[in-house]
């Protein structure tokens, strides 16, 4: 626990330094840069790229959570069970479609920029959240649900006060998975001119500059690890309270 906290702090500081003071790392990356070429990415600020990257992921994951949870709620109501297989098929398709293909298909419709990336991340994020939410909502402890009905909560009250709070840790696990996938996938958004940290990596690949690739990859990776960790902590805190 103590070591975990120290490691977490070190990683946060490393990430902050990489984003805010990239100059400090010139000696580290220098051996990887082509002779005479730039060592640190400077075409745009890493901070603004990071924020835009995180913003895209947050927007897409937020929308995916909203839609996936709503869908899961609907298909776990008595009237919605008939739609369960169909909604499963749709969200599964979202997952199997390669994100690159989604980008390629969305560009003609939405143009270059953030739009196609948002669509790809959104579609990609649906499945884990939907699957988890559906499983959680259809395996709630029957005695609790029965009691909720028996003491006079109406449908809406049962959903918001009992079912969703109880399903929350499992839904959160789905969101966590989805966010981490989105953090990585967002990098390819730069191929269609979305402003993400992928820009650094792609610039590195185009100019044979391993320093850039490493720099971009490291920042994305650290974000993914730290966000995953934070959501895990939140999840275990919530489920500990539920006595699981």
């Amino acid at each position: 626990m103590k070591w975990g906290a120290i490691l977490r702090l070190v990683l946060v500081l490393l990430l902050l330094a990489l984003v805010l003071r990239p100059g400090w790392f010139t000696p580290v990356f220098a051996p990887l840069a082509p002779a005479g070429g730039p060592v640190i990415y400077q075409r745009s600020s890493l901070l603004s790229l990071s924020l835009s990257h995180l913003g895209l992921v947050a927007a897409a994951s937020g929308a995916a959570t909203l839609i996936a949870v709503t869908l899961a709620v609907l298909v776990t109501r008595p009237a919605g069970t008939a739609f369960r297989p169909l909604s499963r098929t749709i969200t599964n398709m979202g997952q199997t479609f390669p994100p690159v293909a989604v980008l390629a298909l969305a560009v003609p419709a939405l143009g270059f920029g953030a739009g196609p990336t948002l669509v790809a991340l959104f579609l990609y994020g649906l499945l884990p959240i939907f699957e988890n939410a559906m499983t959680a909502l259809s395996t709630l402890p029957p005695a609790t649900i029965e009691a909720a009905r028996g003491i006079g909560l109406n449908r809406w009250q049962r959903l918001t006060r009992v079912e969703l709070p109880l399903a929350f840790p499992v839904i959160l696990a789905g969101i966590r998975l989805s966010v981490v996938i989105a953090l990585g996938t967002a990098t390819i958004g730069s191929t269609v001119a979305a402003r993400t940290l992928g820009e650094v990596i792609i610039a590195g690949l185009l100019t044979n500059n391993t320093a850039f690739v490493l720099q971009g990859g490291l920042i994305v990776g650290l974000f993914a690890v730290l966000i995953y960790d934070a959501l895990s902590q939140l999840e275990s805190r919530v489920s500990r309270r539920l006595g699981r």
């Binding site: 402890p141 009691a147 028996g150 006079g152 109880l166």
Partner: protein, 311 residues
């Protein structure tokens, strides 16, 4: 008063509850007993419309339960089930306060009520209020479940095997608590159990169910002394009938003048306890006391005569 009027529930054409009619007086405990699958739970759940009857109706104080929205009806009727069904994500206080909050009670009033109920069930509010159900023992969870059902002071309380999961000692204690609380509050309780012992101990009236039908409905003494069918006699336990009957009768009825040796028993104790004391000590009589003063004795002969003279 609760009037159950020819109520029937069919599943796939098979009746789970078959034309059951009974009247439950206000302020009494009615125990519904029967073997597994006899329709007890279904009958109970039709009263608060967790199950909609196929035909027949239930009237509470003359008003048909069909005239009200189910969830509003249920807020007026306490409901406690085996395995308590507490909300694991809410504290004890929030669990107990659920219905009062739904009814729009003020925060202070809810908090006061929660503490009052916790004390009633001998759980120190300071200690238990903010715990989560997972941090309670099985017996405590069960008590909180019953407290939640009582929270809005419902006139009617439905309980489905509320003590099923408890060990015998806690179970007896919970039954005594329920009796006391019921007397204090004057509530009407309908309680499902498959344990005839519990039904006899708790019920003012006992309803025996078999195969969806109500086969006998009467006081515990009637059920024991005059079982309406072989099935009821079997439920009561043929061998134990005399003892069951004695356990219902207080010593006070048979007190006579005279001396007896040994530890006196209070007049409210049952004849079964007196019989047991006589047999254990090898004596022909036990002294009886009222308010700490010996008022006479009860003899083994008198007990034997009373057990033989049933009905």
């Amino acid at each position: 008063m609760i009037e159950i009027d020819a109520i029937t529930k069919c599943y796939d054409g098979q009746p789970a509850v078959d034309a059951v009619s009974m009247t439950v007086e206000s302020g009494t405990i009615t125990a519904i007993v029967g073997t597994s699958g006899s329709g007890k739970t279904t009958l109970l759940r039709m009263i608060n419309r967790l199950v909609e009857p196929s035909s027949g109706e239930v009237r509470i104080n003359g008003q048909s339960t069909r005239e009200e929205k189910p969830h509003l009806l249920r807020r007026r009727i306490g409901y406690a089930i085996q395995g308590h069904g507490l909300f694991p994500h809410q504290t004890v206080a929030r669990n107990i306060g659920t219905v009062p909050r739904l009814l729009g009670w003020s925060k202070d009033k809810v908090r006061e009520r929660v503490d009052e109920l916790l004390r009633l069930f001998s759980m120190e509010p300071e200690e238990f209020r903010d715990r989560y159900p997972a941090e309670l023992s099985g017996g405590q969870q069960q008590r909180v479940g019953v407290a939640r059902a009582l929270a809005s002071r419902p006139d009617l309380l439905l309980m489905d095997e509320p003590f099923g999961a408890l060990d015998p000692i806690i179970r007896t204690r919970a039954q005594e608590d329920l009796r006391q609380i019921q007397q204090k509050l004057g509530s009407t309780i309908m309680l499902v159990t498959h344990d005839m012992e519990e039904a006899i101990r708790l019920g003012d009236r006992v309803a025996v169910m078999d195969g969806g039908k109500l086969v006998q409905y009467g006081t515990p003494a009637e059920i024991i002394a005059e079982p309406a069918s072989d099935f009821v006699a079997h439920m009561v336990g043929d061998v134990e009938r005399p003892l069951r009957l004695l356990s219902l009768l207080p010593l006070g009825d048979l007190v006579e003048e005279g001396e007896a040796e040994g530890e006196p028993l209070p007049a409210e104790a049952s004849l079964r306890e007196a019989l047991s004391a006589c047999l254990w000590n090898g004596k022909q009589a036990v002294p009886v006391e009222r308010d700490g003063k010996v008022v006479g004795r009860v003899t083994l002969d008198a007990i034997r005569a009373r057990a033989g003279h049933h009905g």
